[in-house]
């Protein structure tokens, strides 16, 4: 089974995100970077498929040259091939991103054969456009489902389970297929020492970014206004429990 996992380098979630003075980018001065959380789970799902069905997993990313770091991390987990589509680090709109990724997938498949499964994260943690995987699927003429919280394969079919608004849905997709994975589908593994060593030797293929800009353009990033503190400290320790219960009672929750 040939598996491709598309990942994105993003500032570590949880950090406070500041904007540069011109408002055109995130201020990366004090930020650590990581793989977007849904895509960490996509990597894990891809590696599990390879462990169960044989074959190999490839990682692909579009981003600044530094995104090579995330490809090497993927290799430390077990990915054996990696492709980087370097950008100038500016914000690419979703149509342009999808065009470039679709183009490179076609190049990779022309050389190494079709990918049975291509995995994306449900949405990127930073720009959150909810669309690149769907656009790539359309361009390649493959079925696509997002929000995957469960994934099994039987050789010709992918069975995807997801939960939306309290309803559990199961989809069956003919392979080759594209799937958007959501955090919670698995617990991603950590790199092994052997994996770390192997990742240093990984040959990262560089592919030229081909793709016209689309109809959405980022004008400026703005930090939402800081909310003014409204904190009332009720007290310290178990003695404050009664005051909490007063609040609950006021709201009709008892």
């Amino acid at each position: 089974m040939r598996v491709l996992v598309c990942i994105k380098r993003v500032p570590a979630p949880g950090a406070r995100i500041n904007v540069t003075e011109d408002g055109l980018a995130v201020d990366t001065t004090n930020l650590g970077f990581t793989t977007s959380p849904h895509e960490e789970c996509a990597l894990e799902a891809g590696l599990q498929l390879v462990e169960e069905h044989g074959g190999s997993a490839t990682a692909l990313t579009l981003g600044p040259p530094e995104a090579e770091e995330q490809l090497r991390y993927a290799a430390s987990l077990g990915v054996t091939d990696a492709a980087l589509i370097p950008t100038d680090g500016t914000d690419w709109d979703p149509q342009r991103t999808a065009r470039a990724i679709g183009h490179v997938i076609a190049e990779l498949e022309a050389v190494g054969g079709e990918f049975d499964v291509i995995l994306f994260g449900n949405e990127s943690a930073d720009s959150g456009g909810f669309q690149v995987g769907v656009r790539v699927a359309r361009a390649l003429g493959r079925p696509m489902i997002t929000g995957a919280k469960g994934l099994t394969m039987d050789g010709t079919t992918a069975r995807v389970q997801r939960e939306i608004d309290g309803t559990q849905e199961v989809y069956e997709l003919r392979l080759p297929a594209i799937i958007g994975v959501k955090e919670g589908i698995n617990l991603p593994r950590y790199p092994t020492m052997k994996g770390r060593l192997a990742s240093r030797k990984l040959g990262v293929q560089i592919h030229e970014a081909v793709g016209e800009p689309g109809g959405q353009r980022m004008v400026q990033l703005v930090s939402p206004p800081e909310q003014e503190s409204r904190l009332v400290v009720l007290g310290a320790g178990p003695a404050a429990a009664d005051k909490v219960v007063d609040l609950l009672a006021e709201r009709g929750l008892l």
């Binding site: 979630p13 949880g14 950090a15 406070r16 995100i17 149509q95 949405e123 943690a125 930073d126 959150g128 456009g129 909810f130 669309q131 769907v134 656009r135 699927a137 359309r138 361009a139 079925p143 696509m144 489902i145 997002t146 929000g147 069975r159 608004d165 309290g166 309803t167 559990q168 849905e169 199961v170 989809y171 955090e183 919670g184 617990l187 109809g215 959405q216 353009r217 980022m218 004008v219 400026q220 990033l221 703005v222 939402p224 909310q227 503190s229 904190l231 009332v232 400290v233 009720l234 310290a236 320790g237 404050a240 429990a241 909490v244 219960v245 609040l247 609950l248 009672a249 929750l253 008892l254």
Partner: protein, 322 residues
């Protein structure tokens, strides 16, 4: 004219659709709604109250249950004949998914999760505000297209009935859906047991790293039971394997809208705050008075959750005379 996709599940309206209808009225032009599948036909009267003057009712065998391909085909089919200036949906999982499929079919831009702030639709190129990082960063973005595709971020707009309610004229139609193109078809669906979900519970008792272990959640469970609420947790908790990801409150988990959120031993990273900030009242319990969760909360109790949470449960019981 603006076309708004109204979401439903076998005829049960997704209330967030009223947010999208309210948002659409800000553009000062005619608003039409579209519902997919015959079970939604009875929703028409509710949509008029929110300003829709017509509701296009797509009828097709492939629209009985939700499927992204059939839904997108139906929308594209109507957009081709109606030529609206914009097609809008709610920024739910389904809303974002369907509009992405429509955008891919039309090779048109799609702006996800727009807020109601600072709209400028005076020129061909609309300028909007959308959310990034689950709302901790805003982006000013322009969209240039014949049909602007966008979703309205969940809970970003207060749903308000139209000052002058309209009568939404039902306009049934049969969309063109290629059965072989409807390649993602739902094979099985199970409605979860009726009961409180994290997203809809009126009380959520959340636990973070400070809870310390899977077993440490038992007092939180007891308090949640006492209040008829549910237990939530932070990403640190699911990453430690203490609780299932379905309990996670946050950007990559669930966004809660509880009347009261009791955040116990949670530091309050942005990722968690994004999921918690929809709660109407936040009470933080933490040993660290300087923790983000405490400083952003409405109320706080400083101290060890392992002592305070059982004390709250006991106080509730004694007040009830149990």
């Amino acid at each position: 004219m603006i076309l708004v996709l109204v979401e439903h599940d076998r005829g049960v309206l997704a209330p967030a659709s009223f947010e999208a209808l309210t948002f659409a009225r800000a553009f000062d032009c005619e608003v039409h709604a579209i519902t997919l599948g015959a079970p939604a036909d009875e929703l028409a009267p509710y949509l008029g109250a929110y300003g829709a003057t017509a509701v296009h009712q797509a009828h097709h065998d492939l629209l009985v249950d939700y499927g992204p391909d059939a839904s997108a085909d139906a929308l594209v089919s109507l957009v081709a004949t109606l030529k609206p200036g914009a097609l809008m949906a709610t920024g739910t999982d389904r809303g974002n998914e369907v509009l992405a499929h429509v955008a891919a079919r039309l090779d048109a831009p799609f702006v996800a999760n727009v807020t109601g702030e600072n709209l400028d639709a005076s020129a061909d190129r609309w300028e909007l505000t959308r959310i990034r990082w689950g709302g901790s960063l805003h982006e000013r973005a322009t969209i240039t297209a014949d049909v602007r595709l966008l979703t309205v971020a969940l809970h970003a707009v207060e749903p308000t009935p139209a000052p002058a309610p309209a009568v939404a004229t039902p306009m049934p139609f049969t969309p063109t859906i290629d059965p072989s193109a409807a390649i993602t078809i739902v094979r099985d669906r199970v409605k979860r047991e009726v009961g409180q979900t994290l997203a809809t519970a009126s009380v959520v008792v959340g636990g973070g790293r400070g809870v310390g272990s899977a077993e440490g959640f038992e007092p939180l469970e007891a308090l949640a039971r006492e209040l008829g609420g549910v237990v939530g947790c932070s990403r640190a908790v699911t990453n430690n394997g203490w609780r299932n990801h379905t309990d996670q409150v946050g950007q990559t988990g669930t966004r809660i809208g509880a009347d009261v959120y009791l955040a116990c031993g949670i530091s309050g990273a942005i990722q968690h705050w994004v999921g918690a900030s929809g709660a109407k009242c936040i009470i933080a319990i933490n040993t660290d008075a300087a923790a983000n969760m405490v400083t952003k909360a409405d109320y706080a109790v400083i101290g060890d959750l392992h002592e305070i949470v059982p004390a709250i449960t006991a106080a509730i019981r004694s007040r009830r005379g149990v």
